[in-house]
Amino acid sequence: MTPKPIFDWQFAWHILPQLLSALTVTVEAVVFGMAMALVLGLAWALLRRSPRKLISRPISLVVEVIRSTPLLIQLYFLYFVLPEAGITLSPLATGIIGLGIHYSSYTAEVYRAGIEAVPRGQWEAAWALSLSPARTWRAVILPQAIPRVVPVLGNYFIAMFKDTPLLAAITVAELLKTAKIIGAAEFRYLEPLTLIGALFLVISLLASQVVGFLERRYGTSF
């Protein structure tokens, strides 16, 4: 009998389709998770600027706690607590919400930096022209703040993609969970884990190129 090689290429080829279909779950998680993080993060950033301390202080604290504690705990929290509160969601939906909330704490910080980078003179000119606060935000500040931070937001998109394996802990059938299932079934972990490692690497590298392109395009537009 021929000795089995350390890395069984045939086996790897055999399991690739299964892994690629798990990739669609991963992509779904990131796309919706990031959409949520982008919207929620902006809400945090705007609320933190409220002159009313009763609003800005608790929000700052909540965002800080979410940002400095593990995503895994937050996922477990949602996975176990939501049903107890009467909200039943699929593991994937729970995972998306967990990713969205966790990463909104990062995007809030990114938005904050972008907003603060808008020169004070812009605020003053809008004030001198009697533009309302809503109009000032919509027409003057945000159009200048957001393009500048698009590359950084892009990097967090990539980071979230690399965090999707955590969803395996709440039974979502994304890449890692599928690799585990294959590994446990066939008693071979090397091939599935190496394959998904390679998939992550290739996608991250490609995505980094895109972010680099965004950086050149949006870096200095004014």
């Binding site: 350390i6 800080e64 706690v65 400095s68 504690t69 593990p70 995503l71 895994l72 705990i73 937050q74 477990y76 929290f77 176990f80 607590v81 107890e84 690399k162 965090d163 999707t164 394996p165 955590l166 395996a168 802990a169 890449l175 890692l176 690799a179 585990k180 590994g183 071979r188 972990y189 090397l190 884990l193 190496t194 998904i196 490692g197 992550f200 690497l201 991250s204 590298l205 980094s208």
Partner: protein, 216 residues
């Protein structure tokens, strides 16, 4: 003597916390070593070494920390290397954190004004002396703020080790939850513990920054 709820949950959690701290500190030491070696290595005149450092950084930054943990714990045995969960955890946390740290080190070194190197050369220092006695100490201060953030990332990543059965804080929390079903209390306590640890680490880094700050 029994503690009132929810504090009665603390003793088992504190056992996990001890492991978390060991894991984080161990990972930090490995991470700092890797970051310095790779960060300096990426500027090395030796091309193969430079390439190796670049590949290390790209691979460990471009793949997920959890996947790396699984690979080291479940796939390495195929090569005859069996690691304990704690060893795998410290190693992966260090290698992963070190890859991000390498960029911080590289940028900080590049940020030291060229005039410093030129003056040192004019005074007759050897390249090695210049790198370690003149440039690195100045770069070290610039490295601290981003390093502080990476340290917090390391702490958060330590929770991932629970998925390779290491009985750190998150793992203990899961066990406790399965036994007592007091989910909200347990996870709230755990969040507070992580948060407090993170604040302590940030404070420590800030103190270090102030102590090392060099007036110009």
């Amino acid at each position: 003597m029994s503690l009132p709820a929810p504090l009665d949950l603390l003793p088992p959690l504190l056992d996990g916390l001890r492991v978390t701290i060991r894991l984080t500190l161990g990972g930090a030491v490995v991470g700092i070593a890797c970051a310095v070696l790779a960060g300096v290595g990426k500027r090395s005149p030796l091309v193969p070494w430079r390439w190796l450092c670049a590949i290390y950084v790209e691979v460990f930054r471009g793949t997920s920390a959890l996947v790396q943990l699984f690979w080291f714990y479940f796939a390495l045995p195929r090569f005859g290397i069996e690691l304990s969960a704690l060893t795998a955890g410290i190693l992966v946390l260090g290698l992963n954190g070190g890859a991000y740290g390498a960029e911080v080190v590289r940028a900080a070194i590049a940020g030291v004004p060229a005039g410093q190197r030129e003056a040192a050369m004019a005074l007759g220092f050897s390249p090695r002396q210049i790198r370690w006695r003149i440039v690195f100490p100045q770069a070290a201060v610039a490295m601290l703020p981003p390093a502080g953030n990476l340290l917090i990332e390391l702490l958060k990543n330590s929770a991932l080790a629970s998925m390779i059965t290491l009985s750190e804080l998150t793992f203990q929390g899961q066990i406790l939850r399965a036994n007592t079903l007091r989910t909200v209390e347990i996870f709230s306590l755990i969040l507070i513990l992580y948060f407090v640890l993170a604040q302590i680490m940030s404070y420590g880094v800030r103190r270090l920054e102030r102590a090392l700050a060099v007036p110009r």
